[in-house]
Amino acid sequence: MKITRRQMLVLLPAAAIAWEHVMAGTPEAAPNYTMSEHWWSMLIDIPKCIGCGNCVRACKEENDVPDGFFRTWVERYHVEDEDMTNPTVISPDGGKEGFPPVEKEDEGKYFFVPKLCNHCADSPCTQVCPVGATFVTPDGVVLVDQKYCLGCAYCVQACPYGCRYIHPQKEVADKCTLCYHRITKGLTTACCEACPTGARQLVDLKNPNDPIHEFLRTHAVQILKPQMATGAKVYYNGLDGSVR
């Protein structure tokens, strides 16, 4: 982004006002919400995903995600028999407008993998932030303080899942907030709301009535890149070993 001198003159007082706002803090947004009573995550049920792209579009709309960047996206895997280490993966425009017809109908298997921030409990991205502009909230969501972020992109480098990017206009780190503005109001995330098959489900691990507990007991569930020991909290049901 180029800033002319004239724009700078306008921006400086604006920045000063913004900073005052940063200093003062804002009033409590959801007064009936207690952070310590929740521990948020998500369940992705791969056998239910049909690759329609609804989640990607919903996320873009709900969170004003810039073009070419993704807080959530869907990948289509093609794994040939006996070649698990060489999957062919596509995600045209993040799967936003769905996927083209498959090329090799009868060879190997195809499946969709929705991706989003794993809201890691031991998140490598928050670890490296030099100023404390990204953090894990007491209710288990990894957020970015966009009024404090320097835009150094160290967190982008540290995320093993490619879930972060630098917002091209705001020039700060941006990522999935797990629709924090929704889940703190008792709503589900935009992607879950828009998913037609229930392949994505918001999960509150601290809620004893959440069906996730029964699900985790009865299914073989996996997280992405467990070798990274990030404490990833997005659980995948039916995840193929070829998925990275």
């Binding site: 003062a24 049909i50 792209g53 709900e62 498959v102 195809y110 499946f111 929704r182």
Partner: protein, 157 residues
């Protein structure tokens, strides 16, 4: 005494350090946001700021409070678990003030195939058709009512 006298210039250099150090702490006290460190090494107020972002999707509960009739049709059909805004798009504005925004009716020609067009990548148990052959150009709703699409539960209306 002589040592101190001849090392006097070193203390001058040191004094600059001390001065800068004190200045740093004074400035720091002013500029670090008040809520910084409340829960951890970050600005606690930012949590509330993020929680205050505007909604775009109203959520199906909001839709169902007014559109009871549709909700009733939908709840027994195949699309019972498909939320309203999955097809109709984000409508928080409409939910807040129904008069301000009249939702446009989705075009079934593009809407239905998004999920139901055949693809070998889709789960086998998911209902899929080759749309071109299946309907020979007829709009989907000729036979299927979107809110309850099974043919037996109503069909063309």
């Amino acid at each position: 005494m002589g040592v101190f006298k001849d090392a006097g210039h070193l203390f001058r250099f040191l004094a600059i350090f001390v001065f800068l150090f004190i200045a740093f702490w004074v400035i720091r006290g002013f500029v670090v946001p008040k809520s910084f460190g409340k829960y951890g090494h970050y600005r606690a107020a930012s949590i509330d700021e993020i929680a205050a972002h505007p909604l775009h999707f109203a959520g199906h509960e909001a839709c169902e409070t007014c559109h009871v009739d549709v909700a009733n049709v939908k709840k027994d059909g195949k699309h019972a678990h498909v939320n309203c805004e999955a097809c109709h798009g984000a409508l928080q504005k409409h939910a807040e003030d129904p008069a301000s925004l009249t939702p446009t009716k989705p075009d079934t020609a593009t809407l239905c195939v998004r999920c139901h067009e055949y693809s070998a990548a889709r789960p086998k148990n998911f209902p899929q058709v080759h749309a071109a052959e299946h309907s020979t150009g007829l709009p989907c709703e000729t036979c299927h009512q979107p809110h309850s699409p099974a043919m037996t539960s109503g069909g063309a209306k």
